[in-house]
Symmetry: C2
């Protein structure tokens, strides 16, 4: 069970150009068939899903590349990879905390706007 780049593009939601770009960046290296066409595996689907998660949580491609390089080396790099993920989890926690603070402040601003608008409406006698 494997996928052409077109099929893989559909199941992952990434564009064909993006998949080739990711390959160029060594994030994902699919196998090739006899006529040099890319063949993506089931495992590649999970891997892309994880790449998307890292991206969605603000990890730059450069760092995902490092992770991908370790992953390509196999089990010997397990703890190094875990270290990266633990660090990234901390940065994720920080991001969430900051956004929550921003939410509080935004709530206050909106409350202020509500008061201003009420005041201006009732000021017209």
């Amino acid at each position: 069970m494997d996928y052409s780049i077109g099929e893989f593009s559909k199941v992952t939601g990434l564009g064909i150009h993006t998949l080739r770009y990711y390959e160029h960046e060594n994030l994902i290296i699919p196998l090739r068939n006899a006529s040099n066409r890319r063949r993506y595996s089931e495992k590649d689907i999970a891997w892309i899903a994880f790449i998307k998660r890292l991206k969605a949580t603000g990890m730059p491609i450069k760092e995902i590349k490092k992770y991908a390089a370790l992953r390509a080396e196999g089990d010997a790099t397990l703890s190094e990879r875990m270290e990266m993920l633990v660090q990234h989890r901390q940065s994720l926690k920080d991001q969430i905390r900051k956004l929550q603070e921003h939410e509080t402040k935004l709530d206050e601003k909106i409350a202020f706007y509500r008061h201003e608008i009420e005041r201006l409406c009732s000021d017209t006698p």
Copy 2:
């Protein structure tokens, strides 16, 4: 009490080039003195702080520009601006919820790594 661009750069933490860029984009238009030098006010400090909050919560410059344009029109646009902020608050809530989901998944992944590493260590008799 007003500030030259150099002073204002220091109090806001934005570079001089960035301040000029923001002005070019009509985000903030300081007064000018007799010799055409920019003069930023105390109010501008609060305004930049708010711009930074909008940016930190993912609002693109294009949209901040819209907000800034409404703000420049004065009180008549108060409810329109509030509408923008309410919408933005929703997007912020969505962002936070998504990041929290990612955090959960990342926790699981890390737990899996921990088990794998333990398994591989104990597998060496």
